[in-house]
C-alpha cells in the first residue's frame, strides 16, 4: 500500500468516525437545548 493510500485510509477512518462523533454531539446538544428551553404549549 502506497504512503498516500495509507494516509487516505487514516483520513477516511478518522473522518467518518469524527463526523459521527460530531453529529452525536450536535444531537446531544439539541436534546439538552430541548430540555433546557422547552417550548410553551
Amino acid at each position: 500500500m502506497s504512503a498516500e493510500l495509507q494516509l487516505g485510509v487514516v483520513i477516511a477512518v478518522v473522518g467518518s468516525g469524527g463526523t459521527l462523533l460530531m453529529l452525536g454531539i450536535v444531537a446531544l446538544f439539541s436534546a439538552v437545548l430541548r430540555r433546557l428551553f422547552p417550548a410553551k404549549r
Binding site: 494516509l7 485510509v9 483520513i11 463526523t19 444531537a27 436534546a31
Partner: protein, 380 residues
C-alpha cells in the same frame, strides 16, 4: 490607407483564426449546461451562469481569464479567497429550519451515514492515482453540498474546481433520479411499506433555536477549527433567521446576498472551464467518481436506516436514511415520494426532514473533520 483597412479587418478575423476544435467543444459544453438549466430545469440558478461563463471563457482572444480580465477579477475576488461559497452558506443558513432535528435528535445520526461516500470515494480516487489533495476534493462531491465542494476544491485542488463544482451541482439536481433505484435495491417491499409512528410534535422554543447556532459554532469550531469558515457562516445565517431581531439582514442573506453571490459564483466556476484545463481524461474520472460518491452516500444512508430500524424494533422505515445527505429539502421529498408510492398511508416527510437536516450539518462537519485530519497530518 488600404493596409490600415486590412489590419482593421484582420482584427475581426483574429477570433475565427484562433478558434480550435477544443474551444468549439467547450462552447458546446457551455450550451449543453444552458440547455440543462433552461430547458430541463436542472439547478438553473447555477447551471445558467456556469454555462454562460464556460462560453465566455472559451471564445479565444477575449482574454477574460487573463490577469486583469473581467472573469479573472471576479474569480480572484471570491473564489481564490473562498469568500463566495462562504457567503452562499450565510444564505443557506438563513434559509434552513433546524427545527425538525429537535423533534427527534437521534435521526440526526443518519446524516453521518450519508457522508460515507466522501471517504470511500477519496480512497477510490487514490487507488486510481489521483494525488491526495485532488482525492480529497473529489471525495467532497459526496457531501452533495455545492459550497463545501467549491470551498475544499478551491483550497486544495483549484485545477479540479470546474469539474468538481459542475459534478456536485449536476448530481444534486439529479437526486430524484439517482436515489430511488438505490433505495429500492437495498430494501424489501415490507420495509418500504413500513408506517412510522407519528413524530412527537415537539416545537423548539425560540431560546433553543437561538442558542443552537451559537453553541454549535463554538463546539464545532473548537473540535475542528479548519472547518469553522463553513460551520460559522451557515450558523451565522441561521442565527440571523432565528434571532428575530435582524429581519433586514435575514432577508438580505436569503435574497440579495445569496442571489448576487450565486451569479458571481456560477460565472466564476464557468470561467474555470477553459478547454485546456477541462478537456482532460481526469475530468471524466471526476464525474464518474462523483456519481459513485453520491450512490454510496445513498446506499450507506439506507443501510444505516435498516440497522436503525432493526435496533428500534421495526419502528423506523429505512428509506429515511437516504435523506441523510445535504440536498435539502430535495432528499426528504424523494423519501416521502418513494414511501407514498409503496404505501399511501406512509408519511415519512417529517422524520426524513430531520435526517436531511442531519445531512446538511453532516456535510459541513465531514468536511471540517477531514480538513482537521489533514492539518493534523501536516498535509495542509
Amino acid at each position: 490607407m488600404g493596409d490600415a483597412f486590412l489590419a482593421a479587418l484582420g482584427g475581426y478575423l483574429h477570433g475565427i483564426q484562433a478558434i480550435g476544435p477544443a474551444d468549439l467543444l467547450m462552447l458546446a459544453v457551455g450550451c449543453a449546461l444552458l440547455y440543462l438549466g433552461i430547458a430541463r430545469g436542472l439547478e438553473p440558478l447555477l447551471l445558467v451562469p456556469i454555462g454562460f461563463g464556460a462560453i465566455l471563457v472559451n471564445i479565444p482572444g477575449a482574454g477574460l481569464m487573463a490577469p486583469g480580465g473581467f472573469l479573472r477579477t471576479i474569480y480572484d475576488a471570491g473564489i481564490t479567497n473562498e469568500v463566495f461559497p462562504l457567503l452562499i452558506f450565510v444564505g443557506i443558513g438563513a434559509l434552513t429550519d433546524f427545527g425538525p432535528l429537535f423533534s427527534d435528535p437521534k435521526l440526526l445520526l443518519l446524516g453521518a451515514a450519508g457522508q460515507l461516500g466522501i471517504f470511500i470515494t477519496l480512497l477510490l480516487a487514490l487507488v486510481l492515482g489521483f494525488p491526495l489533495r485532488d482525492s480529497v476534493a473529489i471525495g467532497v462531491i459526496g457531501a452533495m453540498d455545492g459550497p463545501t465542494a467549491i470551498f475544499v476544491s478551491a483550497k486544495y485542488a483549484p485545477h479540479l474546481l470546474a469539474a468538481v463544482s459542475v459534478a456536485a451541482y449536476s448530481y444534486m439536481s439529479l437526486v430524484p433520479i439517482i436515489q430511488p433505484p438505490i433505495m429500492r435495491l437495498l430494501t424489501t417491499k415490507e420495509e418500504r411499506r413500513r408506517v412510522m409512528p407519528p413524530t412527537p410534535s415537539v416545537e423548539a422554543s425560540r431560546a433553543a433555536r437561538i442558542v443552537f447556532p451559537i453553541g454549535i459554532t463554538i463546539l464545532g469550531g473548537i473540535l475542528a477549527p479548519q472547518g469553522l469558515p463553513l460551520l460559522g457562516t451557515i450558523m451565522l445565517g441561521n442565527l440571523l433567521r432565528e434571532s428575530g431581531v435582524v429581519d433586514r439582514l435575514k432577508g438580505a442573506a436569503q435574497n440579495e446576498i445569496a442571489n448576487v453571490v450565486t451569479l458571481l459564483l456560477g460565472i466564476s466556476i464557468g470561467a474555470t472551464m477553459q478547454a485546456e484545463i477541462f478537456l482532460r481524461p481526469q475530468t471524466l474520472l471526476v464525474f464518474g467518481l462523483g456519481f459513485i460518491a453520491i450512490a454510496l452516500d445513498t446506499a450507506a444512508g439506507v443501510l444505516f436506516g435498516k440497522l436503525y430500524g432493526l435496533l428500534s424494533g421495526g419502528r423506523i422505515n429505512p428509506l429515511i436514511g437516504a435523506a441523510g445527505i445535504s440536498a435539502y429539502p430535495m432528499a426528504a421529498r424523494v423519501v416521502q415520494k418513494v414511501g407514498q408510492t409503496e404505501n399511501r398511508k406512509s408519511y415519512l416527510l417529517m422524520p426524513a426532514m430531520a435526517a436531511n437536516t442531519g445531512g446538511q450539518i453532516g456535510s459541513v462537519l465531514a468536511a471540517s473533520v477531514m480538513l482537521a485530519a489533514l492539518a493534523g497530518l501536516g498535509i495542509v
